[in-house]
């Protein structure tokens, strides 16, 4: 999902939109350099490997990636999406509604 996401994130600049990553990498030491290399410039919560990650555990995330789309009031619009295309479509629907 990463290359599509990166390009999409660039196109979405200036819109009322945030991509928030909840990262589950185990090895924190190389994470920063890898994120820089891959140009992951959006906000990310670094929460640890799946077996200790308190957020993915609470949210019952059982496969990666798992994506939730929330509207501007924080309400869940779509849940557990796996394809970038579906995520982008859901976001554009919500942005259109806000206008």
């Amino acid at each position: 999902m990463l290359p599509e996401q990166r390009e999409w994130y660039g196109q979405m600049q200036g819109k009322p939109f945030v991509l928030l990553g909840i990262n589950s990498d185990e090895d924190r030491s190389v994470l920063k350099s890898r994120m820089e290399k891959h140009k992951v410039t959006w906000p990310n919560i670094v929460a640890g490997a799946p077996d200790v990650n308190p957020i993915s555990k609470q949210w019952n995330v059982r496969s990666w990636p798992t994506v939730y789309v929330l509207d501007h009031e924080g309400k869940i619009y779509k849940r557990a999406l796996e394809s970038h295309k579906d995520v982008a479509a859901a976001v554009h629907e919500l942005l259109a509604k806000m206008k």
Partner: protein, 267 residues
């Protein structure tokens, strides 16, 4: 000492030594295996650092299965066969169930893993040392297919009297139902997926109700959280944690914007 006494003493000593030796034998084999696995991981990490864009560092894997695993697999097979039908076999069989030497999928199971889970089901189902491995055995569904795993846990439910074992087996049966909804081949079978999900939730409720205080009851909690807090139309519970630079990030700080919450990792 009379000859008969000698024989008794020798038999006892031999029997005792044999038990100790078998455990040591497995621990040694497993320690060697873990060391090889560690070396493999380090090699992969090195490859990743050299080439961060290349997400597929191999660390020396041949057609998806790491070479070190192929090297150790026959040794664990020999161990399990040598101690067949005895309690010492359990650790070896669990290893074979959880370490396929082929690249399997639910419709193309790993033959050794299938054989091993059948042996566990038929010969060792009440072994108390198995309880700690239930979770891993459940996860082997990808290597052996749904049926042998379901058989295993249903047999536990019939044969075992221990509360933790029963709770854990029920929870695992719930998980099998729950995950079946997202198995390959379920696309387009919405009704079946929905009914299996219901079976799963009933199982989790049973675990929470009948076995409170067990680890399995705790593991059921996120499923209730998902059901009660993470459905479409509900306000998402807040998330808080540290960013890569150590600064606090809260989901609620982005109110007013459309937010995509993306659970991901490089791995």
């Amino acid at each position: 000492m009379k000859p008969l006494q000698w024989i008794t003493v020798c038999l006892f000593a031999f029997g005792f030594a044999a038990t100790v030796r078998a455990d040591d034998e497995f621990d040694k084999l497993n320690a060697d295996f873990e060391a090889a696995r560690k070396a493999y991981r380090e090699k992969r990490m090195e490859e990743k650092l050299k080439d961060p864009e290349g997400l597929e560092a191999t660390g020396g894997a041949v057609s998806g299965v790491p070479a070190f695993l192929l090297e150790f697999h026959p040794k664990f097979k020999v161990y399990a066969a040598k101690h067949a039908d005895k309690p010492e076999a359990v650790s070896g069989l669990v290893w074979l169930v959880t370490h396929p030497a082929t690249q399997p999928s639910p419709d193309k199971p790993d033959p050794d893993a299938v054989e091993a889970i059948k042996m566990l089901t038929e010969k060792h189902i009440s072994d108390p040392s198995l309880v700690k491995d239930y979770k891993r055995i459940r996860g082997a569904e990808w290597f052996v297919g749904e049926k042998p795993v379901m058989d295993f846990f249903e047999r536990v439910s019939q044969a075992n009297k221990d509360k933790e074992a029963l709770a854990s087996a029920s929870f695992c049966i719930g998980l099998i139902h729950y995950d079946s909804a997202s198995m390959p081949g379920m696309e387009g079978k919405k009704e079946e997926a929905e009914s299996r999900r219901k079976l799963a939730l009933n199982m989790f409720r049973k675990v929470a109700r009948d076995y409170p205080g067990t680890e399995a009851a705790q593991n059921a909690e996120p499923f209730f959280f998902e059901l009660e807090k993470l459905q479409v139309g509900m306000t998402a519970p807040d998330i808080e944690g540290d960013g890569i630079d150590g600064k606090k990030i809260k989901l609620s700080q982005f109110r007013g914007k459309v937010v995509v919450v993306d659970f991901w990792g490089f791995w």
